[in-house]
């Protein structure tokens, strides 16, 4: 079973994407299943380690938190950009020590940090575990420090470790 479906989540999401791009019918379902199997084999030949997800139940909570956060920081960044030059905004680099070391958790964290307007992932050092984030509004440094290390990091550790 695991040789036939080396990456079940990848295969299911590929079938789903295929059906979204075409229209739902039995023929497209079969074709999409075959294509996703081939893609799964090709992927496992390239990258054999399967990401292991320990707790699925945390994922919706992570999604909702991220959604609200993106809306909030969209509003904040828009306001700062519109008043640029008059608001005395100073951008800053902040260093955050991370305890999470799982590669998949770090990949998800990097996408979260960069997708949220106002923060950009600049560097992560694997040997010291220090993450350097560039933040658009330097006055919010405390807030971002707390959001990353007290909200996202525990959730990702719950999911992946």
């Amino acid at each position: 079973m695991s040789r036939l479906f080396p990456h079940p989540v990848l295969a299911v999401s590929l079938i789903f994407m295929w059906l979204m791009l075409t229209r739902f019918s039995l023929g497209y379902l079969i074709l999409g299943t075959v294509l996703s199997l081939v893609a799964g084999w090709a992927y496992s030949a390239l990258h054999s380690a399967r990401p292991r997800i320990r707790r699925w139940s945390t994922i919706p909570r992570l999604g909702v938190t991220l959604f609200l956060d993106i809306i909030r920081s969209n509003i904040a960044t828009t306001r700062l950009l519109l008043t640029e030059g008059r608001n005395g905004r100073q951008s800053a680099f902040i260093q955050i020590p991370l305890t999470v070391t799982n590669a998949n958790a770090l990949a998800v964290l990097s996408i979260i940090v960069t997708a949220t307007p106002g923060t950009a992932w600049v560097e992560y050092q694997t040997d010291t575990g220090i993450l350097i984030v560039h933040i658009f509004d330097g006055a919010e440094a405390e807030h971002y420090h707390e959001v990353i290390s007290n909200i996202y990091e525990p959730m990702l550790m719950e999911i992946f470790e």
Binding site: M17, M20, L21, R23, I70, I71, N74, T77, T78, L81, L82, E84, G85, S91, F93, S110, I111, V113, T114, A115, T116, P117, G118, T119, A120, W121, V122, E123, Q125, D127, T128, I130, I132, H134, F136
Partner: protein
């Protein structure tokens, strides 16, 4: 002109709102992109266009074509997911590349403490 007139008002208002929101956010992002002074500040401007700018145009397009075709059209969300998931990868790589290039040139765009990459253990000195 005909396809736009056939859409009822209760659908036209959310479609118009989402298109307006998406286009305005993209424009503000581009405006900031042209005006900001340092590269690391400009790294934040495109995320405005790629988070809610893209998402709201996708929602509007999906609502409108679902009504025109009479079935749920959600293939817009494939592009949406593609943009929302892939742009962070590009931005992250560009940020790291810029940091590396600035360090190599000792550029003054970086604050002083960012020039040194902290190393926990130095290799033993050759004698």
């Amino acid at each position: 002109m005909s396809p736009l007139d056939s859409i009822p008002l209760f659908l036209a208002i959310p479609v118009a709102f989402f298109v307006f929101l998406g286009a305005t956010l993209t424009l503000i992002g581009a405006l900031g992109f042209a005006r900001l002074n340092s590269f690391y500040d400009r790294l934040h401007a495109p995320t405005l266009a790629t988070s809610w700018g893209t998402a709201s145009v996708m929602i509007a397009s999906s609502l409108m074509f679902s009504f025109i075709d009479g079935r749920a059209i959600i293939h817009e969300f494939v592009i949406g997911a593609c943009i929302i998931l892939t742009t962070p990868v590009t931005l992250m790589m560009l940020g790291r590349a810029a940091l590396m290039r600035d360090r190599a040139e000792r550029s003054d765009a970086l604050p002083e403490e960012m020039h040194i990459r902290p190393r926990p253990q130095d290799p033993p000195a050759q004698t």
